[in-house]
């Protein structure tokens, strides 16, 4: 299975990088740009496909791929059409959004 993970800074967290890019876009002739927020996009290929794998992926999204103190993540499961042999077409994809509410959800180092 192939999944896409999108990690974005929480609304309450200042994103100076996004602000700098917003200012640059305005400077380059697009004063209409109101806001820019910069996150991360990851493509992950996993052997196998089942709910258990997906729930483990969610665990890793919380523990490693994002920091719930400052970020939210979104895990998109891209379904590969049978026989296509290549990456997904983007037409059929299931979006599982996870809004992690601050602390407590992440497993601490034991």
């Amino acid at each position: 299975m192939k999944v896409k993970v999108l990690v974005m800074p929480k609304a309450a967290v200042l994103d100076p990088q996004g602000n700098a890019v917003r200012d640059a876009m305005r400077h380059l002739g697009m004063p209409e740009v109101r806001n820019v927020r910069i996150g991360k996009y990851m493509e992950i290929e996993v052997d196998g496909e089942n709910g258990e794998l997906e729930s483990r992926l969610h665990g890793l999204c919380r523990d490693l791929l994002s920091n719930p103190v400052i970020e939210d993540y979104e895990l998109q499961k891209a379904e590969v059409p049978p026989g296509s042999g290549v990456a997904d077409t983007g037409q059929k994809s299931e979006v599982r959004r996870q809004r992690s509410e601050g602390r407590g959800q992440r497993s601490q180092v034991q």
């Binding site: 200042l14 100076p16 990088q17 490693l64 103190v69 601050g102 180092v109 034991q110």
Partner: protein, 242 residues
């Protein structure tokens, strides 16, 4: 007395830490590679500055899963003193051993400067050698040192007196101009609720000798040594009484 200095791939202040520790009579620093799994025999643990795992993904995000971090967490739970400076602070926050997180500087630049940090408490095991309100002159060098915590965490930090250091001007006033990175409430360093884990963005390791521009950083290592001596004297006495 022996302090462990953890080396992650990408740590670059490990030697500064060793030099600062070895500069204090009665203290000896020893490197511990991050693949090690035990910190037995060490009296305290230092997580140095640098760019552990190249800061890939997020600062400290991958380092927190290094094998040694399990020993850091279990020894910290047992009460051992743990100090994280700069990248070490980021690792401690990522590991959940300290609350909050460190994000990109608000100033749009990497800051490399000498700052004044005001001591907010007088009973921290790491700084009891200095009175509350005194200023430590310490260098900072980071691109992602802006401390962030949500409102509830911030309230807890303040209520439990977990904020150890705030960026201040030379008169000791907490003003926005003295804040090098946009940290919420000028926070430069915090401890956990149990007070034995301390993380700060400034580098005490780079201010351990007057010839470096400041010797204030040495006060932190010295306070740690005194705390550990006092604790072991107390437990010795308790053993004798028992």
């Amino acid at each position: 007395m022996k302090f462990a200095v953890i080396q992650f791939p990408g740590s670059n202040c490990d030697q500064d830490c060793i030099a600062a520790i070895n500069g204090i009579d009665g203290l000896r620093g020893e490197y511990v590679w991050h693949k090690q799994t035990s910190l037995d025999g060490f009296d305290a643990i230092i997580l140095p500055g640098g760019f552990a795992y190249g800061d890939y993904l997020r600062c400290g995000a991958i380092a927190r899963f290094s094998p040694i971090m399990q020993a850091v967490a279990s020894d910290a739970r047992a009460g051992k003193l743990v100090l994280g400076t700069c990248n070490g602070f980021q690792v401690l926050c990522e590991a959940g051993l300290l609350p909050g997180a460190l994000v990109r500087n608000r100033s749009l630049r990497f800051v490399c400067d000498m700052v004044a940090a005001r001591l907010e408490v007088d009973d921290s095991p790491f700084t009891h050698g200095c009175p509350k309100g005194s200023l430590l002159r310490l260098p900072v060098a980071h691109g992602e040192g802006c401390f962030f915590a949500d409102a509830e965490t911030l309230r807890e930090l303040n209520d439990n007196r977990q904020v150890i250091l705030r960026y201040a001007d030379n008169r000791g006033c907490i003003v926005p101009e003295a804040n090098p990175n946009g940290s919420v409430e000028n926070i430069a360093g915090i401890c956990n609720r149990e007070r034995n884990i301390f993380g700060l963005m400034p580098h005490p390791d780079r201010a351990s000798d007057a010839r470096l521009g400041s010797a204030d950083g040495a006060k932190i290592f010295l306070s740690m040594m005194q705390t550990i001596s006092a604790n072991s004297a107390t437990s010795e006495r308790a053993k004798q009484v028992a």
